[in-house]
Symmetry: C2
Subunit: 209 residues, 2 copies
């Protein structure tokens, strides 16, 4: 059970990895993970381990794929269920005591080599995220409650790995009807930007017939 955690950070998509502290792969980066306990739901195990590794307790979680190549772990034949987790804030990461080492955020386009088959997991997670961002409101789990259109657009560009036309993007997102205008505006050095929020703070799929 391993979890690829993502969040948005100033228009970049970043993922959280921790250094392994024992075994033959000591020192390599890997996604945080652990073992499922008997009688425990898989999702609960993922949530528990994510909390242990990061202190996060309300992240979005989704099962990705189960990796079972006997050679994936040099020590033993461990089958691993991979999860994708999405969090709102890059800060606030603090393992609540317990043996978890502190990890690091990397931009997904600049990931270091990962231990086991975690590189594959990262690819898989990104593929899933890319797909889902097109027809669901899944971005709600990556952004703070309130955000500007520009922030949303930057996030989409980072996830899709390509620039996005601002006007077409706005039209499409609006057509999906997922956003609600939020009172107030974000004021910076220039023209203030309107604030939006996702109407639903849980996964919602848009029918496209």
């Amino acid at each position: 059970m391993d979890t690829a955690l993502f969040t948005a950070d100033g228009g970049r998509l970043v993922t959280y990895v921790v250094p392994l502290t024992r075994g033959p792969l000591n020192g390599k980066w890997a996604f945080p993970g652990g073992l499922v306990r008997t009688g425990e739901m898989l999702d609960d195990a993922a949530r528990r381990e994510l909390y242990a590794a990061t202190g996060l307790c309300d992240a979005y979680l989704e099962q990705l794929f189960t990796f079972g190549d006997p050679s994936r772990d040099p020590v033993a034949h461990v089958v691993s269920v991979a999860y994708m987790a999405l969090a709102r804030e890059r800060g606030l990461i603090a393992p609540p005591s317990g043996g978890y080492p502190e990890g690091r955020w990397f931009e997904v386009s600049a990931l270091p080599p990962l231990a086991y088959d975690h590189g594959l997991m990262a690819e898989y997670a990104l593929k899933r995220l890319k797909a889902k961002v097109e027809y669901t409101n899944i971005a709600y789990a990556l952004l703070p409650r309130e955000f500007t259109f520009a922030e949303l657009e930057e996030l989409y560009a980072a996830i899709l790995g390509r620039p996005v036309d601002r006007r077409n993007f706005r039209r499409r997102i609006m057509a999906m009807g997922l956003l609600a205008r939020q009172p107030g505006e974000r004021r910076g050095a220039h023209r203030p930007a309107a604030l939006y929020t996702f109407k639903q703070q849980s996964l919602q799929t848009v029918e496209m017939l």
Copy 2:
């Protein structure tokens, strides 16, 4: 490790289930499955169990989802990796000796209640199949090597659960460029039909930008 096996049968989509022969769920229908051996790839285990249950050895296999609810099996906490398998021929099913009971094919729209969470698995598999049939050549694994356009169309209608416009369907499929005309024709009681085959006999994804 459980496998939902499908095939096409005269324009219907059918799935194979076996009766459980022991335990508290004795007599209920379930997808064939078994345990992964230490040191075995998950896919290999699925292939092996599918062979043991049906005698099939060249089916298309794809991992679907991992079910880990501790209450899914009344006897013990068993985590199960669900697979979808697609086969070409409804006939030829014969467990090669070994304790496997004989199973039955059911049309997917008329499945009996299944044991464990296999009903969920069936739903999941169908969802995946529906999606993939739209942008891949995955139907190659369900049809005989040669088939008529009408057969392909019937299969699509069965998978999608809705009728399909013949002309639009032909246009779209042709546009994907997956088919090759096959010499000869299928002669029946009426006008003979041209034969086609999938150019690639392995999964191929069509880019749609």
